[in-house]
């Protein structure tokens, strides 16, 4: 078991720089994620990895579980593209985002919901990470194969948590660099960045739709 955890962590570490930066980096870049929101986003992502890894470990089948989740994953791929286009338009100054306020009592779960929903809160990136953890990804699929091979709920979860932790350095670095650049960019550079993000969002959207219709 220890060997699998180490291999999964290493796959995350190497794949983070060799795969995730190119494939999922644009998502992190599009939402201006300095350290804390980036960590919350990644915690959400790892939560989903653990959930799916646990399912695969429990069932012992990668193919069946991936088949069941395929519809959700394709939908998330489309949503990611739409969200990126929205973020890019906002950065370019072409889509002013309205402020959202929850008119609910300041109690328990409602307080948590307010913390998540209100636009100033960093906590909204956790559920975003949970959602986008379902993004179809060849690298995570390969590690899910190992999680399915562990033959148990907890080992499957542990495998994917190790993988997710391994991806953190690359994703945090990309998010921090993008945030640093955005803070220092002038208006024109921000607009250009927004346009680039819109283009990347369109690529994600086309990719997501292709998963549905096999163009």
């Amino acid at each position: 078991m220890d060997g699998i955890l180490f291999i999964a962590f290493t796959a995350g570490l190497l794949g983070g720089f060799g795969h995730c930066v190119g494939m999922c980096g644009p998502i992190v870049v599009s939402w201006n994620l300095p350290l804390k929101p980036n960590l919350l986003y990644s915690a959400g992502r790892i939560t989903t990895y653990a959930f799916v890894g646990g399912l695969m470990g429990l069932t012992g089948s990668f193919v069946n579980t991936a088949g069941q989740l395929g519809g959700i994953q394709n939908l998330v791929a489309v949503l990611a593209g739409i969200l990126m286009i929205g973020a890019g338009l906002h950065l370019a100054g072409l889509l002013p985002l309205p402020a959202v306020r929850l008119n609910v009592p300041d109690l328990g779960l409602l307080r948590a919901a307010r913390a998540v929903m209100e636009t100033e809160s960093d906590w909204k990136f956790y559920p975003l990470g949970v959602l986008l953890g379902f993004l179809p990804c060849g690298l995570s699929y390969t590690v899910f194969l190992s999680a399915a091979g562990t033959g148990g709920l907890l080992p499957g979860m542990a495998t994917m948590v190790s993988f997710g932790i391994g991806t953190l350095p690359a994703m945090l670095l990309v998010g921090s660099l993008a945030s640093f650049a955005r803070e220092r960019a002038g208006a024109r550079l921000r607009k250009a960045g927004g346009l680039a993000i819109v283009l990347m969002g369109a690529v994600f959207l086309v990719r997501g739709i292709r998963l549905y219709v096999h163009l």
């Binding site: 291999i7 796959a11 190497l14 794949g15 060799g18 795969h19 494939m23 990668f62 193919v63 991936a66 088949g67 395929g70 791929a77 286009i85 338009l89 370019a92 100054g93 072409l94 889509l95 002013p96 985002l97 309205p98 402020a99 959202v100 306020r101 929850l102 008119n103 609910v104 009592p105 929903m117 993004l135 179809p136 990804c137 060849g138 690298l139 699929y141 390969t142 590690v143 194969l145 190992s146 346009l195 819109v198 283009l199 969002g201 369109a202 690529v203 959207l205 086309v206 990719r207 997501g208 292709r210 998963l211």
Partner: protein, 167 residues
């Protein structure tokens, strides 16, 4: 006390103009995203038509030929596949080797996806493999077949690769 969600309109002038610019930008981005990009690195050539049948190639410095195939055909991603390697030396089955197959995607790190094959008789080694789907649409894969003799004093692996495309 009434609950609910309040959406406060964003401040700004000429929202219709902004919307039109945004829509034009999205249309342009959509058109660009639909254009297939040429490979900058140059796509590696395939040397195995995996949907046609087994691909046979010599293992380096051993005198052994390795015939590699995936079943059922046509080979599909995200399915359990029967992975087979048949080893022969001069037409005689080689039955005592350790055989592993590792799947990689040229030009893209995809983590370790390897399967150990078991001897099923007559020099045929079999195991179950899954080739994952790449959401970018890339479908070029390489199978590295590694073979080790139990009599090799330092446990060296001999290898041969097959590059193929899944349709």
């Amino acid at each position: 006390m009434s609950g609910g969600v309040t959406v406060e309109p964003a401040a700004g002038r000429r929202p219709a103009l902004r919307l039109a610019r945004g829509a034009a930008l999205c249309s342009l981005a959509w058109m660009l995203a639909m254009v297939p990009l040429p490979s900058l690195a140059g796509a590696p050539e395939t040397d195995c038509d995996i949907d046609r049948g087994a691909c046979t190639r010599p293992l380096a410095d051993t005198g052994i030929t390795a015939a590699f195939e995936l079943l059922p055909r046509p080979v599909q991603v995200m399915r359990n596949l029967s992975c087979r390697v048949v080893l022969q030396r001069g037409g005689v089955p080689v039955t005592d080797r350790a055989v592993r197959v590792r799947f990689t995607m040229p030009g893209m790190y995809m983590a370790e996806n390897a399967v150990a094959l078991r001897h099923a008789g007559g020099g045929r080694y079999e195991g179950t493999a899954v080739i994952v789907r790449c959401p970018t649409g890339s479908n070029l894969w390489r199978a590295d077949v590694r073979v080790r003799s139990p009599s090799d004093p330092i446990g060296r692996w001999s290898g041969v690769s097959y590059t193929f495309r899944l349709n």
